[in-house]
Amino acid sequence: MTDKSKEKSTEEWKPKIIAFLCNWCSYAGADLAGVSRIQYPPNIRVVRVPCTGRINPFFIIKSLAYGWDGILVSGCHPGDCHYISGNYIARRRFAILRDLMIFLGIEPERLNFTWVSAAEGERFAKIVRKTVENVKSVGPNKIFNKKW
Amino acid sequence: MNFEPKILGFLCNWCSYAGADLAGVSRIQYPPNIRVIRVMCSGRVDPKFIFTSLQVGIDGIIVMGCHPGDCHYLEGNYEAEVKFKMVKLLLNLVDLQDRVHLEWVSASEGVRFGEVVTNFTESIKKLGPSPLSGENFDQHLFEKLKAIELAADGERLRALVARKRIIMEEGNIYGEKISQEDLDEILISAIEDEFLRQQILLKLKNEPLSVKDLSQLLNIDSSVILKHIISLKARNLIDYDKIEGITPFYQKL
């Protein structure tokens, strides 16, 4: 690491986090946070997907490869899935993915999987805060050198 | 010891300040305790000025404007009156209401200006030094006054007061006139709410506190505190901090 990049990392570093939200619960929860004007850090960029079940593990890996500092995946609470069982499938999938990523040397703090319901605006904000904190705690994504 | 109160006067440029000048020209003698701040119109006197004055230990504050109907700016003194009424109501909450006074003095009333200042100075002398003056001022009261200032400075009370006169005199948007009493009732309840909320916020500024802590510190029933905690939370001014045992703590955002 050069001195210059060191310098850069010490100044106000704003982690970029990509969030995959399921359309029916978490996206609605994020909307509710907005309607209730609950403030949270502006580091996340949301990609709306129909269901967490739709999230290919590849999306996560690619996101890291493209230099996002952290990932947030949020779906319906267990049992609340609009598509009956999609979130269960996602849960199993991410449990494995997480192990794999940790095995690859990726800090688990970058990978944040959670549930947020349509009534949990406050919780959504809290989770974003927590996610940003988590990602901040491990610093910029350096595992993948690819920059845009 | 002879108590010489510090008195601050806010005088409108066109009537009262001229009246004070006339008192001078006429060599009318009055107690030298008053210091004057000239404003263009008594309507300019932001309630904040009065609360700040009390906070810095001034013993008495008098606001003077043109007589009703004489305002150089047509109706600024009426606005001053409405605002002053709120100031009184707020100061009632901490028993400082007698330290402020509103009076109309015209440019020709030099003698009267002298009388008004004399009387007000006397009344403040009788009250004795402000509990907020001196080195060992009442910290508790100071904080309460700060809360009052913030309450008066908040959007809600400012909006209510700014529209009060129109609603009373010209009628509201439905074309009805609401009586002073009814509006005062609404205003008083808003004042009480905002005062308490600001007190809570001030307390939370220093450290996270629980409802029970706040209840004890402010000597207000804890269920009432909780009610306002909910309102403050809904306004995103405070949030949960932590839970100790079974007691949630709140922090200011």
Partner: protein
């Protein structure tokens, strides 16, 4: 425009000048010591004391000190800013200092003179006042005065006697004048009058004279049968749209005079009014024009439909009209029996009282009636209770004349809205101040004359026309208009705070605040007078005021309180 000596980085350098004012101040306060005290205050780099600061030598001292000590704030501690501020401000400007960087401390009217017997306390007070003045001066900012161009032309609304005189007067001063009349002819009520009191001139004569002058005047454009449809802009720069018979005409003027006059009341359902043998005083004028009266018994009733609950005002000229017309009848037909039933005769001034005397001498009978016992009008007689006799009198009549008041025009409301000016409770126009600004509106650049404001007679109408013209010329005679710099404004960085609640807009007495086409609050600088009510009321605290900022006032409070708050 003065050079702004202050720049952001420049440290604040205050000069304090304490005035002895002969012995006025110096006799009570130790000015030298005050000057020394001032020197100890933060940011004060220079202090001095003079015998008369306002004298040439004092002023020179200030100028020199500004130069020498590179002062960027000047404080004079002397008399009252109300009289002397302009002087010191101009001295500062001459020395290249923005006039708003000058501050005044009143230690004479409000200190030495009023606490002569307590010089020690007065001294302490003076110190405090200086301390407060210095604190305020530290926070002062240089302000620019706003200059707007003035369109040297005027619009007069209403072509009656008042409006015509105003127009003629303005034109004579060299201002292009537009005279708008809603009727086909100029003249207004003059058209319906016969002779005029107190000189018994024929109305038509007067009308012919003035109308001739107006029509001949190239500087006056007359629009008859015309209505104002819109008025935009502000003092010096009004944009007016006139509708003449369906054609739209747009003009630009610097000032506007409202001289729309008033309308005589038709006393429907009062005293048996029928327009034939029971007519109004105005209708009588017409009868008198080509004298066709062959009746001997004439009764006049005063205060018909006025000074009652519905119209709590006196119409001012009706007593004189009645006297005048009665005398005309007497003149034509000395045998006529005329009785005037009145409540109070209003004949102010020498000429008018003279008229009254003549009427009495000519044998006209005056009978007072009480408002609670008004005359009872029957087929051809009138019953009236006489307070002095304690009985009812019966008077036969062939012609009954009712003196009715002028009432506000129906379209006053509409015009008021266009001009954003106020009406009073009877829908007459409301002047800015009844005593001090009788022909001004609160809105700058708009003036009022004649019966539009209040029923007045011809004489008064003419003088008000002149007065309004004179007021308008104070604006029009300048190429540009310098507007007060200490005004309210919505700073760019606070614009986002504003939610558009319109509280300020409703409170502003000068209509200086409006919502623009983007639905944003906008303060029209030239209209603002800087009273600060909007600032003290804005719930979002988005509106600020210059020269009386919160920071400035609070700094004074802190200085006095002696505690520095965080």
């Amino acid at each position: 425009m003065s050079i702004n000596k202050e720049s952001e980085d420049e440290p604040i350098r205050i000069g304090v000048f304490v005035c002895h004012c002969g012995t006025n101040i110096g006799g009570v306060l130790d000015c030298e010591e005050l000057a020394e005290y001032a020197a100890t205050l933060p940011n004060v780099v220079f202090s001095d004391h003079n015998l008369y600061t306002c004298a040439e030598i004092g002023l020179t001292t200030i100028k020199e000190a500004i130069e020498e000590h590179n002062l960027n704030r000047v404080i004079v501690c002397s008399c009252t800013p109300r009289t002397h501020e302009p002087l010191f401000r101009s001295i500062c400007e001459e020395a290249g200092l923005n006039k708003y960087l000058f501050s005044f401390v009143n230690i004479r009217e409000q200190c030495s003179w009023v606490h002569m017997k307590k010089p020690e306390d007065a001294f302490e007070k003076a110190k405090d006042l200086i301390k407060m003045g210095v604190a305020r001066a530290t926070k002062l900012e240089a302000l620019e005065t706003i200059v707007v161009d003035v369109d040297p032309s005027a619009l007069v609304i209403g072509g009656g006697i008042s409006g015509m005189n105003a127009a003629s007067n303005l034109s004579k001063q060299g201002f292009k004048t537009y005279l708008v009349e809603k009727e086909k002819n100029l003249g207004g009520l003059l058209n319906s009058l016969y002779r005029l009191f107190p000189n018994d001139q024929e109305s038509s004569e007067l009308l012919k004279d003035i109308e001739g002058r107006i029509q001949a005047d190239k500087n006056i454009t007359v629009y008859t049968s015309s209505m104002i449809t819109s008025i935009d802009g502000f003092v010096g720069n009004f944009e007016v749209e006139i509708n003449q018979n369906g054609n739209s005409i747009r003009i630009k003027v610097g000032a506007i005079i409202v001289a729309v006059g008033a309308t005589p009341l038709k006393p429907i359902n009062l005293f048996g009014y029928d327009g034939k043998i029971r007519i109004t005083q105005f209708e009588l004028e017409n009868v008198l024009k080509n004298y066709s009266l062959n009746t001997n018994n004439i009764v006049m009733i005063q205060c018909v439909g006025t000074r009652n609950e519905e119209r709590m005002y006196c119409s001012n000229f009706c007593c004189m009209s009645a006297l005048k017309n009665a005398l005309i009848i007497k003149e034509k037909n000395p045998d006529a029996h005329i009785a005037i039933l009145f409540r109070d005769m209003h004949t102010p001034g020498i000429a008018y009282e003279e008229y009254y005397r003549r009427a009495r001498e000519s044998g006209i009978i005056f009978i007072k009636y009480l408002p609670e016992k008004p005359p009872i009008v029957e087929e051809n007689k009138i019953k009236i209770y006489n307070e002095y006799l304690g009985t009812e009198i019966i008077i036969p009549y062939e012609l009954l004349v009712l003196s009715t008041p002028l009432i506000a025009n129906e379209d006053n409301k509409q015009i008021a809205q266009l001009l954003k000016v106020q009406l009073e409770e009877n829908n007459f126009f409301l002047e800015a101040h009844v005593k001090l600004r009788p022909n001004d509106f609160a809105t700058d650049g708009v003036y009022i004359a004649g019966s539009a404001k209040w029923p007045v007679d011809i004489t008064e109408s003419i003088s008000q026309g002149y007065a309004a013209a004179a007021r308008a010329s104070t604006i029009l005679s300048h190429d540009t208009l310098e507007v007060e710099g200490a005004i309210a404004y919505l700073p760019e960085e606070y614009k986002d705070l504003c939610r558009g609640c319109e509280i300020c807009l409703k409170l502003c007495p000068y209509k200086a605040i409006r919502k623009n086409e983007k639905d944003e609050i906008e303060i029209i600088q030239v209209l603002c007078k800087g009273c600060g009510v909007c600032v003290a009321s804005c719930p979002k605290k988005a509106i600020k005021i210059k020269h009386y900022t919160n920071e400035q006032i609070l700094s004074e409070i802190y200085a006095f309180g002696g505690i520095k708050l965080p």
